[in-house]
């Protein structure tokens, strides 16, 4: 990508993200009481992460079998409430193991 485009993107990203954090912190004094807005804001992070993870995870390793192996390991460990780091590391190990096995089949 051109350097100029990169900086335009960077300014948009950083600008929007900063304004979102800064404006309410600087301006508002009252509390949000609207149940709909509160609920919407509560659910948004989970909805975003869900849409970002699926189906993208299936294509993340360049090989369906290793991606599915990583996905299964991640789900099992996350279900058991292991830490973020543990889940991520073992998902990678599972994917790597399957990648290596595929090399020799």
């Amino acid at each position: 990508m051109e350097i100029k485009s990169f900086f335009i993107y960077l300014i948009i990203m950083a600008g929007v993200t900063y304004l979102i954090r800064m404006l309410p912190f600087v301006i508002f004094k009252g509390k949000i009481t609207n149940t709909f807005i509160k609920s919407f804001l509560y659910y948004i992070p989970y909805a975003v992460l869900g849409a970002m993870t699926f189906p993208a995870i299936i294509f993340s390793t360049g090989n369906y079998s290793s991606a599915v192996a990583g996905l299964i390991v991640a789900c099992v460990l996350a279900f058991r409430e292991k830490s973020l780091l543990t889940v991520a590391v073992f998902a990678c190990i599972a994917a790597l193991a399957v990648n290596i096995i595929c090399l020799y089949i």
């Binding site: 954090r21 993208a56 889940v87 991520a88």
Partner: protein
């Protein structure tokens, strides 16, 4: 000074966590064709995980998607406005004027959570201490990931690409397991996202907008069918 030290101390676990998440960001940025310094600059100026990964997708798709970038960042990061708002109710009088503009930069999910967990109202020194190490961890993790991306062999790099999704699953699954409403919202969002991937016509919508559309529909459905009751423990 005591406040600053306390903040630093509380920031250590956050920084360690950030080191690993941003490592995958650096890695993915380099895999997507960026230089190491571009990856670090994005991390330094944004300090946000989901927003940066989504932004990276748009950047690597090519130039000109300015509006899409702005919308994506807005939707993904809109949750920070609620956190800023809550945190603004918990600041002592030392956080005023310019301090509000500076501290706002460092409000992330984890920093917010720790600050809100403090027994007293937080001071500006405490907040600066708390923000320091996580931002440092975020940037150095990005740098390490970018370096690793340029050094590691392909077979390991491709396996590491799944790390961030593993982490996302680790964030979503535990609350979804305990709270049916979160589970339903996630299922709606994931199903829509799959439709956008595989159904004709829908699959021509670009990735940034797909995330916005899926997330907004799912969260609106959640807000309509499972409104959060006042002061209810939501199992998070």
């Amino acid at each position: 000074m005591e406040d600053f030290k306390n903040g630093l101390k509380n920031g250590i676990p956050i920084a360690l966590g950030y080191l690993s998440v941003s490592f995958t960001f650096g890695l993915q940025a380099v895999n997507g064709g960026m230089n190491w310094w571009q990856a670090v600059l994005i991390s330094l100026t944004n300090v946000t995980s989901a927003g940066q990964f989504a932004g990276l997708d748009i950047m690597t798709a090519g130039a000109g998607l300015w509006f899409e970038m702005a919308c994506t960042q807005f939707i993904i990061n809109i949750r920070y406005s609620l956190m800023s708002l809550s945190l603004s109710q918990k600041t002592d009088p030392s956080i005023r004027g310019i301090h509000r503009f500076l501290i706002a930069f460092g409000i992330t999910d984890e920093i917010f959570a720790v600050a809100m967990g403090s027994p007293n109202d937080v001071s500006n020194k405490y907040m600066y201490g708390l923000i320091c190490l996580p931002v440092l961890g975020w940037c150095s993790g990005t740098l390490l990931g970018a370096a690793a991306g340029q050094l590691l062999p392909e077979i390991i790099r491709s396996a590491l690409n799944i790390a961030i999704y593993g982490m996302f699953i680790a964030i979503i699954l535990p609350p979804a397991r305990k709270n049916k409403a979160v589970m339903v919202v996630v299922i709606i969002s994931v199903s829509l996202s799959c439709c956008f991937k595989w159904l004709p016509l829908l699959n021509s919508v670009s990735s940034g907008f797909v995330i916005i559309i899926c997330a907004v529909i799912a969260a609106v459905a959640g807000a309509i069918f499972f409104p959060i009751k006042e002061e209810k423990n939501d199992g998070n």
